[in-house]
């Protein structure tokens, strides 16, 4: 029997709430199928399955908060008949918590000591109010209905903060990951000024031959050049877990800013195998979904390196913080016109500053420096991208 477990969608994730099963027992599933929707700090995520088989049983009910690694469903491997199964099955998990909002339990032993009117006690219980925190103004300091109503009103005043709940959750996810990175990863930083004039000219020509919907953004060339360079320097396309582990696939995590604040970093799968048009198509797909908190689990977990681009009219340089367990983050500042000296001549060129933050446990500055030089070389030959 194959166990389908709650996946970890980031170093900071401890649990997720199962919102909906997208399949039913008896359904045949294959690798990449969406089996469930799970609410996490990063929004409502479609969870993919990485095994093939027939769904035998769901162990978790919709609406249940489930810790990472807990078995959620059992599958019969492909080719095994449902009738012939006689394997030991784990006991279904009990829901760990029905709701994410924690209520303060009311201890009857303690409330017995508190003077409270029956009506006030009932209202308090219905609204999960801890009577110990309520000041009584009735006879002998007894708690009245008015006192409890006042306490409820105080809590409701705090409620508007919940409207901002996704932004708060994203903030805390970023805080956890970045704090971990800063305390564990010894970063080194490198910077390279790149003449982007040829790349922009190439882009202008390419876009003049495309319909509006197919137009390319400059960042696509930066992504492609990074992917090509990673093929040359595989130590940067890796994770650090008990040593350096190179990753076979090049999946660049692209930083998307959310309009409500915060960032999400979906993966562009197999970036090196995609053409510039395919990379643009992927951006057209994942950026709106990232902003709507509607990503797939593989898009949140498969990045092998991160790329952040400031965009137009922003800062000239960006120095990233590595997303663990990755070992590098590439940054591109705003593209702007700058005085640029070359072959004894001074001219005005479109320039972009590329940076690399590398994990010094995994690589040294020499590799990083060659990597940035490779990005520059690819961008000087946009036809080769």
């Amino acid at each position: 029997m194959i166990e389908f477990k709650m996946p970890s969608l980031g170093a900071d994730m401890e649990d997720g709430t199962l919102i909906e099963w997208k399949k039913k027992p008896g359904d045949t599933v294959k690798r990449g199928d969406i089996i469930a929707e799970v609410e996490t700090q990063k929004g409502l995520i479609e969870i993919e399955i990485f095994d093939e088989g027939i769904i035998d049983k769901f162990l978790i009910q919709e609406g249940t908060k489930v810790p990472v690694g807990a078995v959620m469903a059992l599958l019969q491997p492909s080719g095994v008949s449902l009738e012939t199964k006689k394997e030991k099955e784990p006991a279904p998990l009990q829901p760990t918590e029905e709701k994410t909002i924690k209520s303060t339990p009311i201890s009857t032993a303690e409330t017995r000591k508190i003077k409270v009117s029956p009506l006030a006690r009932r209202i308090a219980e219905e609204n999960h109010i801890n009577l110990e925190s309520v000041a009584g103004t009735g006879p002998d300091g007894a708690i009245t209905k008015e006192n409890v109503d006042h306490e409820i009103a105080k809590i409701e005043k705090i409620e508007p903060e919940k409207i901002n709940a996704p932004a708060v959750a994203i903030r805390s996810a970023i805080a956890a990951a970045m704090s971990k990175s800063n305390s564990e990863i010894p970063h080194y930083y490198l910077e390279k000024k790149i003449d982007f004039t040829k790349a922009l000219a190439w882009l202008q020509e390419a876009n003049s031959q495309r319909s509006i919907k197919k137009r390319l953004l400059p960042v696509v060339l930066l992504i492609k050049a990074t992917a090509r360079s990673l093929s040359d320097f595989p130590d940067l396309n890796a994770i650090w877990e008990n040593g350096l582990q190179q990753k076979k696939d090049i999946n660049i995590g692209f930083v998307v800013s959310l309009t409500t604040g915060g960032i999400i970093v979906p993966a562009i799968h197999h970036t090196n195998l995609k053409s510039v048009d395919e990379i643009m198509e992927t951006l057209n797909d994942i950026i709106p979904r990232a902003r709507a908190f509607k990503l797939r689990s593989s898009e949140l977990t498969d990045s092998t390196i991160t790329l952040t681009s400031v965009g137009e009219n922003g800062a000239d340089v960006v120095y990233g913080i590595i997303y663990p367990p990755q070992v590098a983050i590439v940054g591109f500042g705003t593209i702007s016109e700058q005085p640029f000296a070359e072959k004894g001549m001074l001219g005005i060129r479109s320039v972009v500053k590329a940076t690399l933050a590398g994990d010094h446990r995994a690589t040294d500055g020499l590799i990083g420096s060659r990597f940035l030089a490779a990005i520059n070389n690819y961008l000087q030959n946009p036809d080769s991208l």
Partner: protein, 85 residues
Amino acid sequence: MKEDEIKKTLFQLLKKIAPETEPSELQDDDNIRETLNIDSFDALQFIVVLDDKLGIEIPERDYGKTTTLKLLLSYIKNAIEKQKS
């Protein structure tokens, strides 16, 4: 199409692109992207919906002629007139 109608359509399209902003509060000379905090990806989406809705295709070389509300309105009016003639 009258200027008021074009303006109304523009505000509707901008609201779709930047839902958390209030495009109707844009002043004539405000830089649209900077005021509404529209990044290059969303700016391209705006050009796409402008083409879908009004049938006006803004070439890349003309992006600089459409930065403010006043400039964009005048660009669209010209484009509509050219289509008529």
